[in-house]
């Protein structure tokens, strides 16, 4: 099963294979080009950028652009670089990921091991919610955050991301726990364990694979989010994606492409890092998320 069609038939002609590899490599270059350009541009001086060309290597490597992007570039009225926003993102992404994953795990546990009348219908209703364009909840949410007193705050962003991440995290854990035999819970109940004991002592120890998938998925989603960030936060509370966009669009003086690129890489680095370290789980999360269709 692991091999393709040609594993199943006689090998094709040599020419065909060469053409195939050429095509694959061409595509690889197409996918790599932007990353390459980003990295090289971020290491160039502005002069180098103006006189050289897009894919040329830097005449002289400098990390000035990185320093500026991190600590002094202007993202709107503030000019403190991305470091604050990077920290912002980190401070709300981590709790939001943790909370939504934990709740998702509990929900999945109940939906498989402790089903009650109506639980499936509730879940389906929640699941359909994954499909709505979030524009349709922005206005009420802005109001609600105001009522709750957490507008334009880290807490507000955590809240929003947890609420709208629940459907996915619940789905992940539910689909995983469905394959855990319910007899396990039954045996534990007879052994005298209660709801929480069973969860902590028996179900959770089985869950690392799905926890990894879920955490990666949530981390990528929330770190990369722009819509909620731009609508529900402002000024120095903004997450990094919003700050990056502001930085690029702040049109004061010359356009500093090298700073833009350094900033873009900084904004993309955490998720890229996760992808490189745990690509397998990343893909699993993507395809698991796709199963919902």
């Amino acid at each position: 099963m692991a091999d393709g069609y040609h594993a199943r038939t006689a090998g094709p002609q040599k020419f065909g294979r060469i053409a195939m590899y050429a095509l694959l490599i061409l595509f690889a270059m197409y996918y790599l080009l932007p990353l390459f350009v980003m990295v090289t541009t971020s290491l160039k001086t502005l002069d180098d950028i103006r006189t050289g060309n897009l894919i040329a290597l830097p005449a002289q490597i400098t990390i000035d652009a990185w320093v500026k992007a991190w600590s002094t570039a202007c993202t709107g009225v503030e000019c403190g670089g991305l470091k604050n926003n990077f920290m912002n993102s980190a401070t709300f992404v981590l709790p939001a990921v943790a909370i939504s994953t934990l709740i998702g795990a509990f929900n999945g546990y109940v939906l498989t091991m402790w089903r009650f009348r109506g639980s499936d219908i509730l879940f389906t209703a929640l699941l359909i919610g994954c499909f709505i364009p979030f524009q349709v909840i922005l206005l009420p949410m802005a109001q609600t955050l105001g009522y709750l007193g957490i507008a334009n705050s880290i807490a507000g962003l955590i809240f929003v991301h947890v609420v709208y991440g629940l459907a996915f995290t619940t789905l992940f854990f539910r689909n995983f726990y469905v394959s855990v035999p319910t007899e396990l819970t039954k045996a534990a109940r007879i052994d005298g364990a209660g709801f929480f004991t069973i969860f902590w002592r028996i179900i959770l120890p089985l869950s690392p694979p799905i926890i990894v998938v879920c955490v990666i998925w949530q981390f990528t989603q929330i770190w990369n989010d722009f819509l909620f960030g731009v609508v529900f936060s402002s000024g120095e509370r903004q997450p990094i994606t919003v700050a990056l966009n502001n930085l690029v669009n702040t049109s004061t003086g010359v356009k500093e492409y090298n700073v833009d690129m350094a900033a873009a890489i900084i904004a993309g680095l955490p998720t890229l890092f996760v992808y490189i370290v745990a690509g397998k789980y990343f893909l699993r999360g993507l395809t698991a998320g796709a199963v919902k269709g």
Binding site: F27, Y31, L35, L54, F106, I132, Q135, L244
Partner: protein
């Protein structure tokens, strides 16, 4: 029966303890609130937005109904029409390009390729980047002054022009390029998983019947990927309708508002122009578009699944 039946013993019924009541209600106590919050924040908010769309809300929400005024205003707005048209163009091209590249790459990768894992990782990494980062990168690459156009001209093609990003009417195609770059690897991964899942024996049977490789692909393998097409299209159309960050970063909706999408229209009017009612109306139309596209697809697909 031979066995003597035991005389029914006197049964005692121990009282049910409070702790047991709580224990048995725990699943509901745990699941109920989060699901309910989720549901209120989805369905309740949809209703809320729906209500707002029938009001004359501007900077602040107001709740007196004024009928379809906002919807009428909306559809008299040229910018809204542009954004709808752009959504059509962007959505269909984005889906087609992603499906095409995804399928092609998946088929190529399925040919017992050396370094398959490495290539796959390369095709897929853009998916880890946000649309904002993607947009920023492509904005630099596609800018005519110093980007790709300049590069090709330096190669000697003096008249080469590639300035979609700053050309009204073309900028939406630039968005397609960046979007497809970001998402096609994902579709490739879905197709690849689909290809690997195809039963060998079907292909062997076709070979025995004398079908050539092309024939096998066109009449057996690709048709059997139908479910993958289905879920890819659902996901991609969903992405297209929600696409907001990509356009913001790449073109900012410009030049002018020539690459606006409904999502940007909604954001601009609801949050920058203090036209909450109008913004709500556009959001409702977006929701209805999603429903109009996705519900029939799911419906027809499940019906086929039942028949098949």
């Amino acid at each position: 029966m031979n066995t003597t039946k035991a005389a029914p013993a006197k049964l005692v019924s121990p009282p049910k303890r409070v702790a047991d009541y709580i224990e048995s209600a725990l699943p509901k106590i745990v699941l109920g609130p989060t699901l309910l919050v989720g549901l209120i924040f989805i369905y309740g908010f949809i209703a809320w937005t729906g209500w707002l769309s029938f009001t004359d809300s501007r900077l602040l929400p107001r709740y007196e109904l004024v009928g379809f005024v906002q919807y009428i205003t909306l559809f008299e707005n040229e910018r809204w029409w542009t954004s709808l048209k752009n959504l059509g163009v962007f959505g269909s091209l984005f889906i087609l390009v992603c499906l095409g590249t995804g399928l092609l790459l998946a088929i190529l990768l399925d040919q017992r390729i050396r370094a398959e894992g490495f290539l796959r990782a390369i095709y897929l990494y853009p998916m880890a980047l946000s649309f904002i980062v993607t947009g920023t990168a492509w904005r630099w690459i596609l800018n005519p002054g110093l980007g790709l156009q300049n590069f090709v001209r330096q190669l000697g093609f003096e008249t080469f022009t590639f300035d979609w990003i700053v050309t009204p009417g073309m900028s939406i195609y630039a968005v397609v390029i960046a979007g497809a770059w970001q998402s096609s690897g994902f579709v490739m991964a879905l197709f690849l998983a689909g290809l690997r899942g195809i039963d060998d024996s079907i292909i062997k049977a076709a070979q025995v019947d004398g079908a050539g490789p092309v024939r096998i692909y066109t009449s057996i393998i690709i048709p059997s990927l139908r479910p993958v097409f289905f879920s890819s299209i659902i996901i991609l159309s969903h992405m297209a309708i929600k696409a907001f960050d990509l356009v913001m970063a790449l073109t900012g909706g410009g030049p002018g508002f020539s690459s606006d999408l409904p999502a940007i229209f909604m954001y601009t009017f609801a949050f920058n122009r203090n036209q909450i009612g109008l913004g709500a109306a556009s959001a409702m139309i977006m929701l209805m578009t999603v429903v109009a596209i996705i519900v029939p697809m799911i419906y027809s697909e499940t019906r086929k699944a039942h028949r098949g």
